[in-house]
């Protein structure tokens, strides 16, 4: 008591960093804006409506869920907006609005809130929702708008990964420069490599994500494709910019809840994602494997985390041996 007023007594430390969950989520939203803006230029104003539907249904689902479950409200942390936005970027620009809404509801209600909300989900909500939509609405989910066709009449096209590298090499399909700028068929947010790299660099510079996962994930895919393409660097660039690799590696594989905590774990996780993506692309019947690769690795995170727990400071190195001896 001082001057008749009670003092606050709390455990140390009495200083806290200014970083908050909301600020982190805001940074993720900022980092996705280049990709969204690029998508609007490439696929037209309908992109805005898809994103608006997807985001608003995500936020609404979160709000209703928390209300029904009688838990404290969490829409203020902006994480539902992030989920809705990432899901929108994973949809074709031609997607019916109601399918986008279903995707958001699945992501927030089933994948996130059923398991306890932010930080508790074991799989990435946007990726799982995308896979659910892919399996349920295959036709609509594979209806890729032709870039810049929105100015006249929207026509559809195939993605470069589906067309194959020969078409690009021979000049009958989009060029590598088109792929870099995003002028190709694909999910609305995955096509513009330039915008995605900008956003990714922003997240790394703001220390929101560690570069470990994007580097190892993209690096592993590049390395395997270098071998598979017998040293053709154009093929490597085509694979790295094709499909959802950049979107997945920078923004989805790095989701805190569903990736390992320590850097060693992140490296294992990134390499695993890279190998599965490359295997699916090279050998499976699907043309694209980023979503499945990340989902499969999501499920392995608890094991990776357990295997990469650091030893407390100063733990003698021989202790490991004596433990093994005790177990044997």
């Amino acid at each position: 008591m001082v001057n008749g007023k009670k003092l606050v007594v709390s455990a140390s430390p009495h200083l806290r960093s200014t970083q908050t969950t909301t600020r982190i989520m805001l940074d993720v939203i900022i980092s996705l804006i280049p990709a969204l803006v690029a998508a609007i230029f490439i696929f037209g104003p309908r992109v805005i409506c898809v994103a608006a539907v997807s985001i608003s249904s995500a936020v609404l689902s979160e709000y209703v869920c928390r209300k029904v479950m009688k838990r404290h409200q969490t829409i203020g942390d902006l994480s539902a907006i992030v989920t809705g936005l990432i899901l929108a970027l994973n949809l074709p620009a031609t997607i019916p609005y109601w399918i986008a809404a279903i995707g958001s509801i699945v992501a927030i209600v089933v994948v996130k809130q059923f398991f306890g909300g932010i930080g508790q989900n074991f799989a990435n909500p946007a990726i799982t929702a995308r896979i659910v939509l892919l399996l349920s609405f295959g036709a609509q989910m594979g209806n890729w708008a032709t870039p810049l066709s929105w100015k006249n009449e929207i026509t559809t096209t195939a993605t470069p990964l589906a067309v194959g590298y020969q078409a690009i090499e021979s000049g009958t399909d989009v060029s590598l420069l088109d792929m870099f700028l995003g002028l190709r068929g694909g999910c609305l947010g995955e096509t513009c490599a330039l915008a995605l790299i900008l956003g990714g660099v922003y997240l790394i510079a703001r220390k929101v994500i560690s570069p470990a996962i994007p580097l190892t994930y993209i690096g592993t895919v590049a390395l395997i494709m270098l071998i598979a393409g017998k040293g053709d660097l154009g093929f490597v660039a085509y694979q790295v910019m094709g499909g959802g690799l950049l979107l997945g590696a920078f923004f989805m594989a790095t989701d805190y809840s569903t990736c390992p905590i320590k850097v060693r774990g992140k490296i294992i996780f990134g390499i695993g994602c890279g190998i599965i993506t490359a295997l699916i692309r090279l050998f499976a019947s699907m043309t694209e494997g980023v979503s499945f690769a990340i989902l499969i690795m999501n499920l392995l995170v608890p094991f990776i985390d357990r295997a990469t727990i650091p030893k407390p400071f100063g733990t003698p190195k021989k202790e490991k041996k004596s433990k093994e001896a005790a177990n044997a």
Binding site: K311, F313, T315
Partner: protein, 449 residues
Amino acid sequence: MTKHRLSGVLTAVKKVRGGVKVHHHKNTAETEVVRMPAPAKVTIPMQQHIGAPCEPVVKVGDTVAVGQLIGDTDKYVSAPIHASVSGTVTAIGDIKMPNGTLAKAVTIESDGEMRLWEGIEPPHVETREDLIKAVRASGLVGLGGAGFPTHVKLNFPADKNIDTLVVNAAECEPFITVDYRECMENSWDILAGVYLLKDLLGFKQVIIAVEDNKPEAFSVLKNIADHKIDRNDEVKLMVLESKYPQGAEKMMVQSATGRRVPPGKLPADVGCVVMNVASVAFIARYIKTGKPLVSRSLTVDGSAIKEPKNVRVPVGTSISEIIDFCGGFSTDPCKILTGGPMMGLAIVGTDLPVLKQNNAILAFAHDDAVLKPESDCIRCGRCATACPMSLMPTNIVRAAKTKDVSMLKAAGVTVCMECGSCAYACPAGKPLVQHMRLAKAILREEGNK
């Protein structure tokens, strides 16, 4: 290792993993330490150290003088207590300590004269045993904040093969500047203390550690390390990157020698002794004058203090009187700390006395005292990155919630030194240090079963 230009000298700066970059707030760095006039009354607790409490050796009504012994014990891990003002003993009874426990305390009504006790004379120190005896008699405890009796720390067995003394001038806690002032104002004492300890205790090397945000202290300490009496270059200066908690004992030992103190062990187990720079300077002064530890320097700062200052106060002065000496409160205080903002203790009132090991009194206004609201853990891993001890605070919190003893043991909670880096870094505002203490309590309880 990177290199920085400090006071015109290109210097290697040591980095460690973990820790957090905290705003320094060293507002009082250029304020000279001012001596506070004798308070009307001091209350001197009999426990101002880690270890056994002392028993009063004076009675109510006795007349005492500055430096006179008023509390002692035969227990080994303890430090005697001396009168910090001259006057009359008016009460001996229990008082509530900052941490909430009760301790016996001697209250002395000051006669305002600050008369020195006639029994004070410089000790005769020629051997290692003399030194340890003298340090015990001086009542010295670690002045950096922990309050461990220094004579116990220095009395290491000869077979321990201790070769390094690390003098800690890092002062990595924000706000506090008393160690810096010690370097600037009492460098001769530091110099004398360093060489005295080295010669009498047989250290092969002395490493003085300072953070790179104190270039003036760097110059002063460089002169000490390069002094001509150091013929074999056994005294060295080490510059650390300004990062909290560089001043923690285990971090210091690692930066200075590359040795890692194993869990549950002390720096002595890897051949090191770590001492606060003010403690080193005090030993030199005590050998010169024989005046025991009866006063200490404090940083008084924070947004609710009118005139932030460094003050030298008699031990046992009440915190409210010290704050009054610093112009009182500029606004209603919301939180008052003894010690720094990262590891200091929030106190319930200002009628508590200052202890030997207190190095700061900080009072914060409402806006600086209220922490960000707690939200859900997002598993971002910032706590694990910040932990200098390589622990995983997220896992420990989960294990503590479910009282999973085997998991807690495996997670190495006992290594946690409660530096607060994890809680500082947490974007969800989790009180992680509180969880760590809870986890330790669960293990202690389990051990008692």
